[in-house]
Subunit: 432 residues, 2 copies
């Protein structure tokens, strides 16, 4: 049984289809979300259907794979059962027995112990939250167009992105392009180009996962796009009216803004901590559970945990955190499937090893940074690689064509097709 | 000033751009919705961004056109002002003065005096409601897959479409294709093909606007798809549990169903009745206001009303209702713009005349009926015409390519890309 239809879980099930046993995939959504592109939904570059793919479709031809729409409420590791809770008001399914369990619960954004901030900030983690951000950003410009009070208008046109990781960088870059380019001629009372886009990072550089030289390049490209990156600026306060950031000299600065997008720290799915409780496996402060070298939990060779909710123990016994990237989850999903298949033939598999294929991040149209096993690229070449890689991993041939079409048009016409304000998300209303 | 960015209002503004005066387009949404295809969003055939186009983009290059996101609260015809109300929590704009006013408020579904039914039925009129219907239909199958009680499961898999007009026929056909074809292999506990799809029509035939021969053809195609059309079956009751229909013999029959889609009668936007009040123009029971031969309101040559919220007075003085179709609204929008431009040159324009270009409706993949000035077509030819016409009128070259791609893949692979359950609509939750 596999919990979670993200990159890790999906990959595991793919490798287990047509195996001589039943596979049940449980997810609380009916689709696999291609998270690396969700931020483009948030800026109207792509439509939801283009970055998400129905799980059932993926396995429709695989009779041994069963997809269940439900959420995990608890594990009974001794009884070999998973307790489920209903989602979206669907009927509640009974507990599911398993022989082998793969848990790929993923992660969510962390608010550094300030969960009250969550309600004031928007996220681009789920499809709905991305749509919320989209409506929010566009509604902010609409509000500014109608706003008579200059101060309020300035707050409407100030966009704060918290977190200088890939998502934050990409998000800030996209908002800048939206304001300076896509929306440039759209309004009469305001000039969208005067909008302020701030990228707030607590540490001394963006894209920590990349070599410093590329962080600098990303900084430069962002500035060129019209983004103002603020380094060494931890967020100390956040509400509907704006953010307060701490500065080096121990002072703090208040930035009035109606749009605040959170892309900072992540914390593992609560399922990780629960597995830690049940097995005594160590759980770090990011909520990640430490798994053995074969990705199983101590004392439970039949239970695997993979993806960005785990740290993997090395030969030295020390649990190491791997970057929370799709390739890591996919390799771990593949590995778990391999171990399960090997066990059928009483074969051994050597410990999991992550093969780093490199790191990619876009900054804007035609601009990206790439760190591919030491090879450092930036600008258009890096961007082309980024496009190719993302189209390649996008699920569904049709989606590939459609996303390519949208990117092509965006590249040529600087337009964004899906700029719709659909008021379906609570925070969307906050745009005004 | 133009109220409403639907087919009529949009066409009027297009014909007035670059005119020697300011044009303000007021709409409560920031996009033009291509309503003839909204039902395909409801069945996952298309994504929202593919049938909707941002209004601002359409007029970005036209300095004299201003788009305002707001709703009309009232008219001051003597003061030549329109009072606005804010939407989506945006700032409330002050009243807008006008020299000439075009009101294109459109229509909404009518519940035959049973407004309490509205909360139990889903619609495919707006983009959000279409997304709601989509989530609702898909959630019904998901619920059936998890449902243990056979009776409840049957209700989950019963889909009722009320109204045998083009939308109802298209909707029923799409649900049938979804169940028999697209979802065919998707589930393990249920067989989607056993789902019941009922199309309920009060009168004695479907597609009243078409010649009887084509109605019969549509009936046959629907049956072939697995839809059960019920004629002479007025809805007498409707709640969360299902519908009750009246039968000829004065008896009534209860149909348990969790999914009820309403595509029956329409009523004009309340703005029509308000204009009637203010000008003394007659308002029929469908809420449509009677306009003069030049589409203006009696005593107010500076106020035009167009689209499916009006009836047009003929030479005989009798107000005639035209079908509530996009071509009618577009021709009227074009006409109003023409009159306004002619007035600048003190020219006269002869009374409005609707040129009937014919009538199209799809029943399913590769099947449609067409009545083009007497020429009656059905089957694949009619469907190809339908495809070409809809792609032609779809706003945005990019959307045309993407929608064509989706249709092509749907035609070839019978798949539907955008089958996502996004729980953003109240009624979406009802699916379970």
């Amino acid at each position: 049984m596999v919990v979670g239809g993200g990159f890790g879980g999906l990959e595991a099930v793919k490798r287990l289809k047509r195996a001589p046993f039943e596979v049940t995939l449980v997810d609380c959504r009916n689709f696999h979300l291609f998270q690396p592109l969700t931020y483009q939904v948030a800026t109207g570059g792509l439509s939801p259907g283009e970055v998400a793919f129905p799980l059932r479709t993926i396995f429709k031809r695989d009779g041994n794979v069963r997809v269940m729409l439900a959420a995990v409420s608890d594990f009974d590791l001794d009884g070999h059962e998973v307790q489920l809770r209903s989602v979206d008001g669907l009927p509640t399914p009974g507990p599911i027995p398993y022989d082998t369990l793969i848990v790929a619960g993923g992660s969510e954004y962390a608010y550094f112990g300030h969960d009250e901030w969550r309600q004031h900030a928007a996220e681009v983690k789920s499809l709905e939250s991305a749509l919320g951000v989209r409506s929010h950003i566009l509604a902010a410009f609409e509000a500014a167009e109608l706003e008579s009070d200059p101060q309020r208008r300035e707050a409407q046109m100030t966009f704060v992105v918290v977190g200088g990781g890939p998502t934050g960088v990409e998000m800030a870059g996209q908002i800048a392009e939206l304001a300076r380019d896509t929306l440039r001629h759209d309004f009469r009372a305001i000039d969208p180009r005067t909008g302020r886009i701030l990228l707030i990072e607590a540490t001394d550089r963006l894209l920590q996962a990349f070599p410093p030289s590329l962080s600098k390049k990303a900084m430069r490209s962002l500035r060129r796009l019209g983004v103002t990156p603020l380094l060494n600026s931890p967020v100390v306060g956040l509400d509907d009216g704006g953010v307060t950031i701490g500065t080096n000299e121990g002072k703090s600065e208040r930035i009035p803004a109606r749009t605040i997008i959170w892309a900072a720290g992540v914390t593992a799915s609560p399922l990780a901590a629960r597995l830690g409780e049940l097995t005594g496996a160590e759980v770090d402060k990011a909520g990640r559970v430490a798994v053995e070298m074969d990705l199983t939990l101590p004392g439970h060779p039949e239970v695997f945990a993979i993806g960005d909710m785990v740290r993997v123990r090395g030969a030295d016994g020390v649990a190491q955190a791997l970057p929370g990237l799709a390739p890591v989850a996919m390799q771990q999903g593949r590995y778990a499937a391999k171990v399960i298949r090997a066990r059928l033939r009483d074969r051994d598999v050597k410990p999991f090893r992550y093969r780093d294929k490199g790191n990619l991040a876009t900054v804007g149209r035609g601009s990206a940074v790439a760190d591919i096993s030491g090879l450092r690229l930036s600008g258009l070449i890096a961007w082309v690689i980024w496009v190719v890689v993302h189209l390649w991993y996008l699920v569904g041939f049709q989606n590939r064509i459609i996303v390519f079409t949208r990117w092509f048009f965006n590249f040529v016409t600087h337009g964004r097709g899906a700029r719709l304000i659909t008021m379906q998300e609570p925070e969307a209303g906050r745009g005004a």
